[in-house]
Amino acid sequence: MEDKNYVSVIFDDEEPMLKAVAKIRESNQKIMDVFTPFHVHGLDKALGMKRTRIPIAGLICGAFGGLFGFLFQAWVFTVDYPLVFGGKPYLSVPSFIPVTFELTVLFTALGIVAALLIRSGLKPSKKFEPVHPRITDDRFVILVETEQNEKSTRETLQSMLSGVSNVEIV
């Protein structure tokens, strides 16, 4: 416990937690992370989080998928093996649209999910230590970084959050 460089502030509801986040940030304490059982709306803003760039990853993957799908079909039917089907031109763009669309969707979807897992470091691993055993149930935890020593941070937090109900500082 000695080398612990953070204090956890535990709540049982998201509204006091959101207020506390604002207070802690105002007092220039550093919040390492917040853990919640579900996506609390407004928490991203309260923490001053930058918007994730995953959509850009999706755009790149999707553009690649779409281009690849279309160009592959075009190459197959104009260069590699031109064959007349139903009297249509070799480069019959309208009938390439469905496959192009499907590949765009497929690449985007797989791309953003891969980006989510990689950026968040989520992977199937056997070892896992939660911050709090009820974090996926009904507890909301703010981890505050301790600057000099743990005790003083805890005292500052205690005085700061004295008005908030049901708060536990560990």
Partner: protein, 453 residues
Amino acid sequence: MLQSPIRIPLIKGNKTYRDVTDDILRPMANKPGKFWYLGIALSGSAMLLGAFMIFWTIWHGIGTWGLNRTIGWGWGITNFVWWIGIGHAGTFISAILLLFRQKWRTSINRSAEAMTIFAVICAMLFPIIHMGRPLLGFFIFPYPNFRGLWVNFNSPLVWDVFAISTYFTVSLVFWYVGLIPDIGTVRDRIKSKFKKTIYTVLSFGWKGSARHWHRHEVVTMILAALAAPLVLSVHSIVSMDFATSVIPGWHTTIFPPYFVAGAIFSGFAMVLTLMIITRKALHLEDYITVGHVESMNKVIIATGSIVGLAYITEMFISWYSGVEYEHFALVNRATGPYWWAYWIMMTANVISPQLLWFKKLRTSLTFTFCLSIVINIGMWFERFVIVVTSLHRDYLTSSWAMYKPTIVEVGLFLGTLGLFFTAFFLFIRVFPVIAIAEVKSVLKSSGEKNPKK
């Protein structure tokens, strides 16, 4: 948080966050009851029957089916379209209703998405078995081969391969991304050490960090935005398998929207069938309320009316186009040897959902349950009518024929029903049937009261 005094609560009985976790995980923690064993025994046997019929078909060939030279597509394709259609409701609930910010979807989206995946698996079986030589099934993918040929990208059947495999992959990924936080909840709750290890691996180390939630939310929204046009494209492409041919009764431009509406219609019927049983069996009445059932019934009225309108439009166009073959195909559907199939379809799909205009009926669970079965049957007959009656009397009078399924085809259909329900029975044992985290996120705004501390 603001609470609307007008709307009825989506989650009944003043729940705390902990109650939500407990209630939804309870069916997983308890030992399965008598009905579960009975159910899985029944559906498992049906699945085995289906497996045997698949073996029989592959061993002896497609000749074991009732198909002939005139009617090359029978129950196999009927079942394929039916199952794909059923899958569509899950994506509709999880993607389109998410984009429209419909909070009631949170109670049903998880199981509806699971249903989608199982239904698409059932659907995919049919084209593969129908090939007769499924071992050569990989021919449908464009891969460099010694013949130097590629698949025909102008063909809707090839589009289908791409559409359905993309649909399956994206649905699976979407479902699993949504499941990760809830698997985390299971992992932190479960007692058995062995199971805990498995759920730890499956949860991908989810720890509920705000940053992860932020990304998770963004990814979910994009996946929904992708899945929405995807689901519309899938059944449109399935309908083009028919619409791009020159068979009277198939060759119609109305098919794509008509098939999509029909798919969502039949899918919601299947969701209702499953949900009404599930809520009772797993005691989730507080989460899947009569309000949820009513909302789904409203979707059924809307899509059912679109389907009815499409049927009527088909009638009008077959007359207005002045094409005598089209005209004959329609008259033959309604009054020919398969008239009974047409009228079952009309009664079940056009007339019966209109009963839901009565509030008393659409809030009655018994009635909704019976109606959902009727619609499932009706939508199966719709596909049967489209496939078989359009084919059985073609341009050449000398080749007119009749079609009757053999025991093998019936067994195959029962087998997929068995597969579907077996998968669903297993699903309710291993994963939370309701999206726990999502229900918690709407609990404050849509619960009966602010949860007690």
